[in-house]
């Protein structure tokens, strides 16, 4: 009906695992998270069976220590993925902000000020992503591959080949001692607090609704007065700041920073978010799922390392879990399709490569076809 040519590229969604339109979101999410709980319990039982003192507070402390920064970066990434975008530059931003903090501190800045500067750098980097994605409308996957390289390169310019180590001991002790009165590492506590905040924001505020609506139906969101681009821009800035926070914690935990800090962590962060049940197509995901995913990854790493499982096998297990996490939800539908294929012959299956094409499995398809008049 618009004069806009209909040849404008359709939705960039490619292969949605399932057509979920018939079941409310929370039911599906609940199901996925139930699965995560089962996996977690299985991992814990496994770990305890292997070593009787696996389930002690030290293990929890270590898991938190190892996963803290990754977990913190996973929270804003979850929101970005829910809006249908992605941020691959997270680990580079972690490195860059850590380097900026280290460099400034080594030049005599007070540590507090250096941290603020790192957060500002995070916000600026996030804003760069945000401008390119939200304002210029560039594909976030390409943009953030670019900024992944750019941020890491800037870190290299700032710091390489030096390693900054002279941080105040009272600050670097956060990598060794738990928060007083608890058995949890500082990064764990920060993550848990943030997770609660993110959970409330995502699930109970206007901003959260705006994020979900943006991911599920960007146009409808715009028509409901949601400033889709501003939402996305804000989330990228948030991501930058959170990654900078993670960079600060990472630096203090290690009591040192070099330009390659955190190299390659982006894939871990993405894997955790996706394993947590956040749909790569946007619109779906819960904080609980991501928290569970973090705990599972951390626990698994501890169990496997203690079992002296080679790190290579750990990689295979991570990859396998990731694959299962996307294949499983689509599995039921795939079986149904195969059955349909057997019933109706090969033609249907040949046309089955794309979504929303082959026989529609929901009532709305008919509505769609009927109303375009």
């Amino acid at each position: 009906m618009t004069s806009e040519p209909a040849t404008r590229a359709p939705q960039k969604r490619e292969y949605a695992g399932t057509d979920t339109s018939r079941r409310p979101v929370w039911q599906r999410a609940l199901r996925w998270e139930t699965g995560l709980v089962v996996v977690l319990v299985a991992t814990l039982i496994f770990g305890t069976a292997r070593s009787s003192d696996f389930l002690n507070s030290t293990t929890g402390f270590y898991i938190g220590l190892n996963m803290g920064e990754i977990a913190i970066m996973a929270l804003p990434l979850m929101l970005i993925v829910i809006t249908g975008e992605i941020d691959l530059s997270v680990a580079s931003m972690l490195g860059l902000s850590g380097c900026v903090m280290g460099q400034l501190h080594s030049q005599g800045w007070p540590i507090g000020l250096a941290m603020v500067a790192a957060l500002v750098v995070g916000a600026l980097g996030g804003a760069l992503n945000g401008v390119l994605v939200a304002r210029l409308g560039l594909p976030s996957i390409a943009v953030t591959i670019g900024t992944l390289t750019l941020f890491r390169g800037l870190a290299e310019i700032v710091l390489a080949p030096r390693t900054i180590t002279d941080f105040p001991a009272w600050m670097t002790s956060i990598g060794v001692v738990p928060v007083p009165g608890t058995q949890l590492s500082y990064s764990t506590v920060i993550f848990l607090v943030l997770a609660v905040i993110f959970g409330v924001v995502l699930h109970a505020t206007r901003a959260g609704r705006a994020i979900v609506a943006t991911g599920l139906a960007p146009e409808a969101a715009r028509f409901a007065g949601i400033r889709v681009n501003r939402v996305k821009f804000g989330l990228f800035v948030l991501s930058g700041v959170m990654c900078a926070l993670a960079g600060i914690l990472f630096t203090l935990k290690n009591a040192s920073v070099s330009y390659d800090a955190g190299t390659g962590l982006e894939l871990n962060v993405v894997a955790i978010v996706l394993f947590g049940g956040v749909s790569i197509f946007g619109g779906r995901g819960t904080v609980i799922g991501v928290v569970l995913s973090v705990v599972i990854f951390g626990t698994l790493q501890q169990v496997l390392t203690q079992m002296q499982v080679q790190p290579e096998v750990q990689n295979i297990i991570i990859g396998g879990l990731l694959l299962v996490s996307v294949v499983l939800p689509g599995g039921g539908e795939a079986v149904g399709r195969l059955r349909a294929r057997l019933r109706t012959g090969p033609h249907l299956a040949r046309a089955a490569g794309t979504r929303r094409l082959a026989p529609p499995s929901s009532s709305d398809s008919s509505m769609q076809s009927e109303e375009k008049k």
């Binding site: 190892n66 290690n254 040192s256 390659d260 190299t263 501890q302 390392t305």
Partner: protein, 363 residues
């Protein structure tokens, strides 16, 4: 950049000197305080005079895939097998401190007796190692030291005297190119401790050769492909380059392979550095590389294994001048801390390999 770096280096050295002073003081006190425990245990040990059986030693290499590290780990395994103990090799797949931390934690939880670690980062591991030390685990570093100051106390198994390596690398090259011309360094990662330490001494040594000019240091990240790429760029940027020092086994091998296939470059370009004879044999035999040096990484791991076991059994201490036995390698004496290096033992002088002797070495 060079200037700032030098400045930084000076500042760091000053800091380290200060730290060492503190350490020295702490050492004397700690040796007395540890003397409170060690002598009792060592007195019981001394009575039997043997190393405990069933020791568990965690070897934490830079990563599990580096061939050099694998040879060293196997040396450690050999040592502990001789001593009736057990070695667990645990690390990540990437050369990062973050990937090593879970292994340290695993060692703590497994109640290991000692950790032998090749640090991916001079200080990032300190907090974790401190925890290990508090749990009563003896810490030995090898290959690449961790600089944690006095905390935790640890013994560094030095493959060779750091200064000596830096100097000998330069003198090897100087001898080959007649002490003049542009030279460059092909290093591993820009943040690698041992590399940077050697490079500092190389630069000091270069002062003795006024006609030799270090024009560039490039970083191949111990990845053959990256090493090749930066080498090509180097050759393109400095066509008059006379010599390359690559103090890393991956870098020198990648560079040798390139020169081997571009023999026209050999007319004016000389390569030396630290390399594994097994990787370099072909290039030495066909004349691509005349001389390079290294120690036996297997022996390094073997020595580290013995040192860890001895420390854990109270048969060795960090006190300078004390000594312990390292199986077939004989006896080693703990050296006093020097600038930037705490208590250490040195494996021995590196071996210079050339056409005449390379076939005698099989690591």
């Amino acid at each position: 950049m060079g200037n700032t770096r030098r400045w930084r280096r000076k500042a760091a050295s000053a800091l380290i000197l200060a730290a060492v002073a503190v350490t020295a003081a702490a050492c004397s006190s700690s040796s007395s305080s540890s003397g409170g425990t060690t002598p009792t245990s060592s007195s019981t040990q001394a009575a039997s005079g043997t190393i405990k059986k069933g020791l568990l030693v965690y070897f934490i290499p830079k990563d599990t895939q580096n061939p050099y590290e694998v040879i060293a780990d196997n040396g450690g395994k050999k040592a502990l097998t001789e001593l009736g103990g057990k070695v667990v090799v645990s690390s990540g797949t990437a050369d990062t401190a973050a990937a090593q931390i879970p292994s340290i934690q695993a060692a703590i939880q497994a109640h290991a007796n000692a950790i032998v670690i090749a640090g991916n980062d001079p200080s990032a591991l300190c907090p974790s190692l401190n925890q290990a030390a508090r749990a009563g685990i003896k810490i030995v570093s090898f290959d690449s030291d961790v600089t944690c100051g006095s905390s935790p106390d640890h013994l560094f198994i030095n493959q060779a005297n750091t200064q000596q390596i830096g100097e000998s690398e330069v003198s090897l090259l100087a001898a080959e190119i007649g002490g003049s011309g542009q030279i460059a360094i092909l290093s591993a990662a820009a943040s690698a401790t041992n590399q940077n330490a050697w490079i500092v001494y190389m630069k000091q040594e270069l002062a003795k050769y006024p006609n030799m000019k270090l024009v560039s240091t490039v970083y191949g990240n111990d990845d053959p492909a990256t090493s090749l790429q930066v080498l090509q760029g180097l050759l393109s940027a400095y066509p008059n380059l006379r010599g390359i020092i690559s103090p890393t086994t991956v870098g020198i091998s990648a560079a040798a392979q390139y020169l081997d296939t571009h023999k026209n470059l050999l007319s004016h370009l000389t390569l030396t550095g630290l390399g594994l004879p097994s990787l370099m044999r072909k290039y030495v035999e066909d004349g691509t590389v005349a001389k390079f040096e290294l120690w036996d990484p297997g022996n390094l791991g073997y020595l580290a294994g013995y040192a860890a076991a001895s420390l854990a059994s109270g048969m060795a201490s960090l006190t300078p001048g004390s000594s312990f036995k390292a199986g077939t390698l004989g006896s080693y004496t703990v050296l006093a801390p020097t600038a930037g290096v705490g208590p250490s033992v040195v494996l021995g002088p590196p071996t210079v390999f050339d056409k005449a002797n390379i076939n005698n070495y099989h690591f």
